[in-house]
Symmetry: C3
Subunit: 211 residues, 3 copies
């Protein structure tokens, strides 16, 4: 009976987590929360059978489908945004300034994928606080948040802790640079990037301004 109760409890907890966006963790880069793609490297728009890539317009160099990278994929192949080549980047304005704690990079699950050579491999994530959307970033105020390798053999949503969150301050913009992928010469697909962390309270805001 004890074990049965345990089993039931494990099931409920895990399904609850699954139902809560898969990880049960707040994502400040979610499109429906107000986050959006600020810029990205050249998209890969040639030779796709589906027509969605051709029909969407582009604003300030951001493709109309780029926010697919900031939306749930619900386990469906194709719910991603393809960037040209094996290296590239995407830069995201978060919903609100946060102290970043972790980054999740998601690709499609092995069991339903046609081909996972387009998955990103070596990645680097940086972040900063952007005074105005149109100003260039002051690189001195830029934090290196995480460096990691997306591993095709692990779970399809892989979370990486921020290197040393003590060193990091408030950020409202995050940039993913990928320098390699898992074998595709033509393109790299980003299914979803999530940014976890916490909003600073009034006290910590004051401390930051004093220091």
């Amino acid at each position: 009976d004890d074990i049965r109760a345990y089993a039931r409890n494990v099931v409920e907890k895990e399904i609850e987590k699954h139902a809560a966006d898969g990880l049960g963790r707040v994502d400040y880069a979610l499109a429906s929360s107000g986050a959006f793609v600020v810029k990205h490297s050249e998209p890969y728009l040639v030779g796709k059978a589906s027509n969605w890539v051709f029909l969407k317009s582009t604003k300030n160099g951001v493709h109309g489908d780029a926010d697919k990278m900031l939306r749930p994929s619900f386990g469906e192949p194709g719910q991603c945004f393809p960037l040209k080549g094996s290296s590239g980047f995407v830069q995201i304005k978060l919903r609100t300034p946060i102290i970043p704690e972790a980054i999740t990079l998601e690709h499609v699950a092995k069991s339903v994928a046609y081909d996972r050579r387009s998955a990103p491999k070596d990645c680097r994530v940086s972040g900063w606080l952007r005074a105005h959307d149109d100003l260039e970033v002051d690189t001195e105020k830029m934090f290196s948040l995480a460096e990691f390798t997306y591993d095709l053999e692990k779970s399809n949503a892989q979370t990486f802790d921020v290197l040393d969150s003590a060193v990091s301050g408030l950020v409202d913009t995050v940039r993913l640079d990928f320098t390699s992928n898992h074998g595709s010469a033509s393109h790299t697909c980003i299914y979803r990037l999530r940014v976890h962390g916490h909003e600073p309270d009034a006290v910590s805001m004051m401390t930051m301004q004093l220091s």
Copy 2:
């Protein structure tokens, strides 16, 4: 082995329920089934970062996004409709007339929410049968279906049984009135309202007409 079979059985049952719209219970207020929002209190459209609230048109006082309240949220923050202030209402025409049995009110899960002060708190649900869409309701034929408090500490989809279904008759219109929320002065978000019950068979229809 017995316990293993039990564990597997629990898992399968729970996932089946999860896959069946989360509760495994028929919802007569689901938009894709033909239900729709008839009217609602003033929407909260100011100061939202996302543009979806501005671009949708309004028909007969019903905002184009109001049916978000009658669609699945898939655990995603923002898949709701915001109403102004801490009290308000939404009135729904069901797919078909039913004998109501329970009401489910859903908000976003704690683990992925940015802020849950906009969740509704004290609620009252009533229902009636509306002869014609354009007629005013005959308040004598109105049933009080449920009174409840949405609890932020419980599961995000909370189901409340109809007070005394013996007293209730056939309804095709249901109205949720919320009189408080969990702390937001500006708005209250409704993620989803579901109405459970059963369609009357021919015999019970006749009994109702005779009585």
Copy 3:
């Protein structure tokens, strides 16, 4: 402890499968992968409360909503395409030529369905390789892939192995014919059809051409 580890393992595996499109199996008929509906029998467009059926256009006899049959339903009633009568067909161009191994036909789960009389019953699936989209099929090159009965008492997504995959060759087009449904005189709803199999490697391609 052993049993607890076992329970946790079962849960994780099952949720992973659920999160991977429900079955954890590659689907070459998925719309977002490039597959599309080539033709279908007459759609059922009369007397539906929802307006989606009226507003979509038709191209070459294929209704704008026909690809609902090639998309996930996420357990939601109504996420299907209705065809007129109790018999009919749908013909699909796959994402890429494959050696077919199994077919999955999905309807809505019993627990959330209003009425399942519109579910297809007796079915036959055939496949062939189509040189050009505008040519008629050479019936000698047509393979009978599966014959089955969709059972309302079983799981809502039912998978049927290809009769004798040794006999079958490469196909890029698949056709579902249903000859009966579960009781509706007016229409039959197809929630989703999936086609499983594998892409031939270079060696097996050569063998096929030689034989």
